[in-house]
Symmetry: C2
Subunit: 205 residues, 2 copies
Amino acid sequence: MQLPSLLLENAVNEFAKLPGIGKKTALRMVLHLLKQDTEIVTHFSETIAKMRKEVKFCRRCHNISDGDFCAICANSARNQQMICVVENLRDVIAIESTQQFNGTYHILGGIISPLDGIGPDQLNISSLIHRIETESISELIFALSPNIQGDTTIYYIQKKLQNTPCTVTTIARGIAFGGELEYADEMTLARSLANRLPVQQYVKS
Amino acid sequence: MQLPSLLLENAVNEFAKLPGIGKKTALRMVLHLLKQDTEIVTHFSETIAKMRKEVKFCRRCHNISDGDFCAICANSARNQQMICVVENLRDVIAIESTQQFNGTYHILGGIISPLDGIGPDQLNISSLIHRIETESISELIFALSPNIQGDTTIYYIQKKLQNTPCTVTTIARGIAFGGELEYADEMTLARSLANRLPVQQYVKS
């Protein structure tokens, strides 16, 4: 695709760097912006740059925040003794949208994945250990991706916590609601069988 | 979807204004930018703003250009006596990628569509008439959308040109290459029959 202007081409290339955006979609976006008033496009670009420059991360849970502490950590109505350990902000948004969790979070910023060069030192693990040691945490819930990397991360953190009294749990793995048994993989089905629930408990939840 | 930061929310809302981008995709883009260095994001936003501020339109054909005249109008190796009338830049890119056209373009900036409030005055029609009257144009090729609005636009412009000697043509309408005859609409099929070609001519093209 040959573009008639270098300015246009640069803008298209910038958009095409975003995840899931190819050159054609990028061009569509740029042509859309080109139709807008200059002020609107300036506002667009300033909002993005300002967001990157000024956004802060909560000192306690590493959530994105406008101040030193995020709205969840600063909210005394939430159970501050419960930590749900997640990979990233999107997981926080997903769990928050269930409206079933009233504790706090701790964002690791990823999971241990040696193949991608991500070790424990690149993640917010030491600050999690520090929180558990200094705050009076009653329960730690792991809500990480259900794969080898997620399990490795749980195993690694759990080993570090052997002397702490808090309960450590992980969200249930199993057949998803609405899923078909015959299409479930063996690992999921095997875990689902091993961690079977009494029907009374299942009906209640 | 509730976001933990106003800065983040503003950025997501800006991205969500782009065509084809919903809130979830916008969040994915913003979180991607958040992972990048500040300089990279600043460069992204500056490139977009600069493009909008500095991009020019060719004085002759209204194509996007870095200078007063676009690369196509400034290229003396192209047939400057042939004008292909198109709706927008994307059509220019599409035709250029066929490498079959060596003339110049004229970008109308849309087609006459009274329902959308677009009349002849909002389009670059007067400059097209001016070009045909002052430059020695030998052929005018309409490559507009094959619908009522496109046909109206062709009809309108053609009426204005009754006293000019140049040949006026339109790109062929018909069954697309690889298309199925049985799924073609009646209008296309009828036109395709009415404008049938001698096989000798078809085989050559």
